[in-house]
């Protein structure tokens, strides 16, 4: 009992760091542009397929594939922004909703056509195996992914605080009109924000592919996980995002250990609803 719980918590913490990374992509787009991207989970799904394609074509390790997939997803983000998102900004909210839900369906259908319905996986990588600590086991691939995720989130904090592009993004988030009076071209800043959000899914997708397979509807799960993390964290606090990611990871992992593996998302969804009831701004949100 105690062992199972501890093992579940360890696994949950590692997964949680990755969930925080995935949610970061959603969080910056939502927090800075006020755009709710319902296709975010499917960006992760697409990224995982790209990782699969790159990894199998070049015989690369999954964790190395973001070197190629991140620039590709960055480009995909820029194109999606200018073709779709930019045009919805001055429209009613339902237009934006319809566009990103439509994008979600489009991406799923495209994945189904290109890669068919069967799940795809890459050969397990150099970081396979376990680290044994006492009675507990840590999957090396998950530990590696969690560490990379945390480093990336810290890097993002640096970017947002110490670079001109990052400050422009925060200023646009605070007051778009005032930011444009400072010389910020919001189309460019938003395109960059969306592209960064999109390339974050490429990094996350590569990391997840080191221990998991992908399928065309896998995006639902990552979408829901990201929303749950974001609802829990609230906007504007990166440490909050990490803590929220870990809470969600642990809840998911404990649901799997003690309840039923098939109900893993149920536990996540339950906290999502609970937070919306009890603390709509999230645990750490300032807005």
């Amino acid at each position: 009992m105690f062992e199972t719980a501890t093992q579940g918590i360890i696994t949950g913490i590692l997964m949680g760091a990755i969930y925080a990374l995935i949610a970061l992509g959603l969080s910056i787009v939502f927090g800075i542009m006020n755009v709710t991207n319902f296709a975010h989970g499917d960006f992760v799904m697409l990224s995982m397929y790209l990782s699969f394609a790159v990894g199998s074509a070049l015989a690369w390790d999954a964790v190395a594939t973001p070197l190629i997939t991140a620039p590709l997803m960055f480009l995909f983000g820029i194109i999606t922004y200018y073709l779709l998102i930019d045009r919805t900004l001055r429209q009613m909210y339902v237009v934006q909703l319809a566009v990103t839900v439509g994008l979600q369906i489009l991406m799923r259908s495209a994945a189904l056509i290109i890669w068919q319905a069967q799940p795809r996986a890459l050969q397990y990588s150099f970081i396979q195996g376990n680290i044994q600590i006492g009675d507990f086991q840590i999957l090396t691939s998950r530990l590696f992914s969690a560490v990379v995720s945390l480093i990336f989130i810290a890097g993002m904090a640096y970017f947002m605080n110490k670079t001109w592009a990052g400050r422009a993004m925060r200023a646009a988030s605070d007051d778009l009109g005032a930011a444009s009076l400072m010389g910020v071209n919001y189309h460019k800043t938003y395109a960059l924000t969306f592209a960064i959000g999109s390339s974050i899914t490429a990094l996350a997708g590569g990391l997840v592919m080191s221990f998991q397979q992908t399928d065309p509807v896998g995006g639902i799960r990552f979408g829901l996980l990201s929303w749950a993390v974001l609802a829990l964290a609230g906007l504007g606090s990166l440490p909050g995002l990490i803590v929220a990611g870990i809470i969600v990871g642990v809840v998911e992992s404990l649901t799997v250990s003690f309840f039923d593996p098939r109900s893993r998302l149920l536990g996540v969804y339950a906290i999502f609803i609970l937070v919306l009831w009890l603390r709509p701004r999230g645990l750490f949100g300032r807005r």
Partner: protein
């Protein structure tokens, strides 16, 4: 320096400004006064590009800036300090000031921040604080400071005394007076007519989206209309 001819502007289908014509010459301080809702802010927002003009002419240093976006207007050297300041609440005072240099980061190496700290010493003490923690007066000072960072040729101030504690209003006005002394061209929008006419060289009165009167500050402050409706004498 700034020339506006027959400007019409508003929000969507709603017209606010009708055939507004005025100009600001180099080194002048020009005041625009008028009652609440007359269209003063709409005028400044239209010049700065936040609101899209419907028709007319807007020229800055003899180049048309009609319908340019705000980020392009500020690059021409025309800064706008909006009503209420609109500082970035979740950025520090220093970061807010730095955003003023966004269109030209190199300007930070010219000692501009020190100049602004000399003008507004309180901003130096508060530089690491989030702007949301500032008082109304401090926010206005930050907004003006942020507008000055780009070393604009002309600065437009929209009711800099709004939301400022009465005992600080005098101080804000002293600073605006100082801007004039350092050779900045200023377009000042104020509801506080007494202050505005004391500082400005010339003024325009805007009522219902139209220029109702214009003249030197001395002329305006002796006009019966102004005395009666604006100065309450």
């Amino acid at each position: 320096m700034l020339e506006i001819n027959n400007l019409n502007s508003g929000y969507g289908k709603v017209s606010v400004l009708r055939n507004v014509t005025f100009h600001v010459d180099q080194d002048e301080m020009v005041a625009i006064i008028g009652p609440n809702g007359a269209g003063k802010s709409t005028l400044l927002k239209t010049i700065s590009g936040l609101v899209r003009a419907q028709s007319g002419e807007v020229k800055f240093e003899n180049d048309s800036i009609f319908c340019l976006s705000p980020d392009q207007v500020v690059r021409r050297g025309l800064a706008y300090v909006p009503e209420g300041g609109r500082v970035f609440p979740n950025m520090t005072v220093l970061e807010n000031l730095m955003m003023g240099a966004y269109s030209n980061p190199g300007i930070l190496k010219t000692g501009i921040l020190d100049e602004i700290y000399t003008l507004f010493p309180i901003l130096k003490n508060r530089s690491a604080q989030f702007a949301r923690t500032l008082s109304g007066g401090e926010r206005q000072m930050l907004a003006i400071g942020r507008g000055l960072v780009s070393r604009p040729k002309l600065i437009m101030l929209d009711e800099p005394s709004l939301g400022v504690a009465p005992k600080l209003v005098d101080e804000i006005y002293e600073k605006i007076h100082a801007l004039k002394r350092i050779g900045l061209t200023v377009l000042l929008v104020e509801q506080n007519t007494g202050y505005a006419l004391e500082l400005a060289d010339r003024g325009y009165v805007i009522e219902n989206g139209q220029i109702a009167m214009e003249g030197t500050a001395a002329y305006l402050s002796t006009s019966d209309h102004i005395k009666k409706f604006y100065l309450g004498l």
